[in-house]
């Protein structure tokens, strides 16, 4: 589903964020990506989202070499991937419902379909009663769950999360991780970048450990 083939990324500043990195994530697999800050976790996710381009090597997502995707294809590629951010990236000038509906509007879902999917996604994250609220009025954990609902509303095949529990207490973090596990069981490929080692070591999923842009453990096909 996601394949990195000897991928290197050097930023304009000269910093090497990834060095000859190869990894493979199977369809419907849940994989954790860990490492100290600056190890290359975010860069790896950005390459999958085509927010950055690799300097060398090949990134293949859903059978497509990302180097061949250009212009308008980038937006379409992003429509097939759900993303959860540490800082939620919610829009505070609109309701929770409208935030979750945004990717569905962009992907061109029918009006009725959008209502159904938004409510289904909010139901999954336990926020159905907050659809009319402004996200600003919600707690950090609730905002993160709105972000997750937005990421899964269009039922993407791939779900990426960048430090989704970064600002949450352990109980809330465990709740969020349980949600991701549920999505993985429902057929979504989930890749979560996190440094919450205590939490993920209990979950018995493959852990990819990055150090200085290179993979230390867990990269190969299982």
């Amino acid at each position: 589903m996601i394949e990195f083939d000897r991928v290197s990324k050097r930023y304009d500043s000269g910093r090497d964020a990834l060095r000859e990195l190869s990894l493979f994530v199977e369809p419907e697999e849940l994989v954790f990506l860990t490492g100290h800050s600056g190890a290359g976790k975010s860069t790896l996710l950005k390459l999958i989202m085509i927010m950055e381009r690799q300097t060398r090597g090949r990134v293949i997502v859903n059978g497509k070499d990302l180097q061949t995707i250009k212009g308008g294809g980038i937006a379409k590629h992003r429509q097939d991937i759900g993303v959860v951010f540490q800082d939620h990236q919610l829009l505070y000038d609109r309701s929770v419902y409208d935030n979750v509906a945004l990717p569905l509007l962009i992907s061109g879902f029918e009006h009725r379909d959008i209502g159904r999917r938004v409510r289904a996604a909010l139901d999954k994250v336990g926020l159905l009663d907050k659809e009319k609220s402004n996200p600003e009025a919600l707690s950090g954990g609730e905002q993160q769950r709105v972000g997750i609902a937005r990421a899964v509303a269009s039922r993407p095949k791939i779900l990426l999360a960048d430090e989704p529990t970064g600002n949450l207490d352990p109980a809330l973090s465990a709740e969020i991780m349980a949600l991701f596990r549920a999505f993985s069981r429902a057929g979504v490929t989930v890749l979560i970048a996190t440094h919450d080692l205590a939490l993920i070591s209990r979950m018995q999923h493959r852990i990819l450990t990055l150090k200085d842009g290179a993979l230390v453990t867990g990269g190969g096909r299982d």
Partner: protein, 322 residues
């Protein structure tokens, strides 16, 4: 739980054309609704921008109204071009009539009329407001004359005709009073160039006004644009509301300009009509034809959209998720 990954794919490159068209229409509906809702919410700044655009555009519009008026008046005057042939004092009315019959078939001549010296004296007396007796006591110093109405004012042909007439032994003088016409034409040309200069300045000013307004609008929605791009919004998708904003500003500015220009027409109409009447020239009236109104509105809308497109494109390039 359903199998989300398999239940649906949002990948629009696999969608049939009809569905893609529906999606496209839906995006436009959404952008329109979003734009007008936003403009309505900030109606004061919307109104101010429209007013500024309208005022800027009304200047060349009012000038072009003047130029159209002058051109139309010139066309009327042109049609009335004529040559007056004065005969020598010794020429009798019969000789003058014979000459006029000779001139009638010439290609450049549309019609011929003869004015006898008595007729001319009558007209002069009336024009001066004197009693006929006073002038009659002085004797009639006026010759017979022939007035030729011309079918064309083409310079070379006109010159040839004038020479031909001047060489005729019966003819004392040929009056070709075209100088005032050429002066008027020069004024019209000056007016037209002035109008084009103002058109150019107004176009540039409108582009700058819209460009700057849209630049600020893009900047104020930076986060929304970033998030939209992150969840798969294309550049066209993010650009659309700004194009509609440009359209709205253009249309509103055009309407304001129409209103101002029409008010100017109404305001100046009275004095100009009075002037035209005093010259018995009813064709000299301010003209604001529907074509000018339509062009003004269309130009304003195009300006709004072009300004928005250039500015939004430039700004959006700077807002890429990193």
């Amino acid at each position: 739980m359903t199998k989300p990954g398999r239940a649906a794919s949002s990948s629009s490159d696999k969608l049939p054309i009809a569905k893609r068209f529906r999606t496209w229409c839906g995006h436009h509906r959404l952008a329109r609704h979003d734009t007008f809702e936003r403009l309505g919410r900030h109606w004061v700044s919307t109104l101010l921008t429209a007013l500024v655009m309208g005022v800027v555009l009304s200047l060349p519009a009012a000038l072009s109204m003047g130029v159209l008026t002058l051109d139309a008046a010139l066309a009327e005057v042109d049609r009335g071009d004529s040559i007056t042939v004065m005969t020598h004092d010794s020429v009798s009315l019969e000789q003058a009539s014979a000459l006029s019959e000779e001139l009638a078939p010439l290609s450049l001549v549309e019609s011929v009329s003869i004015i006898s010296s008595d007729q001319a004296l009558d007209e002069l007396t009336q024009w001066l407001g004197l009693s006929p007796e006073v002038l009659a006591s002085l004797g009639n110093p006026l010759p017979h004359s022939i007035s030729l109405t011309l079918s064309s004012t083409e310079t070379a042909a006109l010159q040839a005709l004038t020479e031909q007439l001047a060489n005729n032994p019966l003819v004392a003088d040929v009056l070709l009073d075209m100088e005032w016409l050429s002066r008027l034409q020069s004024i019209a040309l000056f007016g037209e160039r002035l109008m084009w200069a103002f058109v150019a300045i107004a176009l540039l000013a409108c582009l700058l006004i819209i460009g700057n307004t849209i630049r600020l609008a893009v900047e104020s929605r930076r986060k929304e644009i970033l998030v939209t791009k992150l969840v798969g919004g294309s550049n066209a998708y993010v650009m659309r509301p700004f194009l509609y904003t440009g359209f709205a500003y253009g249309a509103a500015g055009g309407l304001v300009a129409l209103l101002i220009t029409y008010s100017v027409k109404c305001w100046l109409g009275g004095p100009i009509d009075a002037l035209a009447n005093s010259y018995q020239a009813p064709y000299f009236a301010l003209r604001f034809p529907p074509s000018l109104a339509f062009a003004l509105l269309a130009i304003a809308i195009v300006l709004g959209m072009v300004g928005a497109w250039v500015s939004a494109r430039r700004q959006l390039k700077l807002i890429e998720p990193r």
